[in-house]
């Protein structure tokens, strides 16, 4: 299991390739990558991501361990950036390896659902004239109910 909370960009291609390379007895590898989307109309200048150093790593580890307890998984990778990002930049990625595709997909979705609502990150959108904290969505909280 590798968890990285970092300010620097990550290399999706290199991460995906090296993650899959370690999974020779796993039939299925799933990756999810989150990208900063521009606001409708193109007004987003930056997305600032704040986090809670110390708690962030622990929370992500707990979520990943729960996924490994729940599904038949090989390795798990979580990378999440903080700091200031511009539209098109990659915020985060998760990767899961499993003998079968259903486990790899479900575990990746579980990781994403919990990272979204249970890992201590907060996003602030910086526009041309204004800035605002992204509100948590009811649907993100509701997404946890299925697990």
């Amino acid at each position: 299991m590798r968890i990285s909370v970092q300010r620097e960009p990550f290399d999706l291609g290199a991460e995906a390739d090296s993650f899959a390379r370690g999974a020779t007895d796993m039939g299925a590898v799933v990756t999810f990558t989150g990208v900063v989307r521009d606001a409708p109309g193109g007004g987003l200048r930056a997305m600032e991501i704040e986090h809670y150093p110390g708690m962030t790593e622990k929370a992500i580890r707990t979520i990943a361990e729960e996924a490994q307890a729940r599904w038949s998984l090989g390795d798990v990778l979580v990378i999440h950036r903080y700091g200031s990002l511009v539209p098109g930049e990659r915020i985060m990625m998760v990767a899961t390896a499993a003998p079968h595709r259903k486990d790899a997909f479900e575990a990746a979705e579980y990781l994403m659902d919990y990272l979204k609502s249970r890992a201590p990150f907060w996003k602030k959108e910086i526009g041309a004239g204004e800035a605002g904290w992204v509100a948590a969505k009811d649907e993100d909280e509701a997404a946890l109910d299925r697990w």
Partner: protein, 81 residues
């Protein structure tokens, strides 16, 4: 006790962390103490349904005891991913 603030809670209160001397036994009592200090705390804690709390870096709730706790953090619902 170390008290940490994140996101708009940090912005409203105007600082990221402070050391608080308190006799509060629960999170709710600590919040009441802070609210009674100054308007910026009152503004930050006006709507508890918009807040979350972590005790020693574990999500908790407002009725939890502070006994033995060294670090309390207040923040809005998380928006990672």
């Amino acid at each position: 006790m170390e008290v940490l603030y994140f996101a708009w809670v940090r912005e409203r209160i105007g600082l990221p962390r402070e050391t608080v001397e308190t006799g509060a036994e629960t999170v709710r009592q600590l919040i009441d103490e802070l609210r009674s200090r100054e308007a910026r705390y009152e503004a930050a804690f006006a709507d508890l349904s918009a807040l979350r709390v972590a005790l020693d870096q574990e999500l908790s709730d407002f009725d939890a005891t502070l006994s033995g706790v060294r670090e309390v953090a207040f923040f809005p619902p998380m928006t990672g991913g």
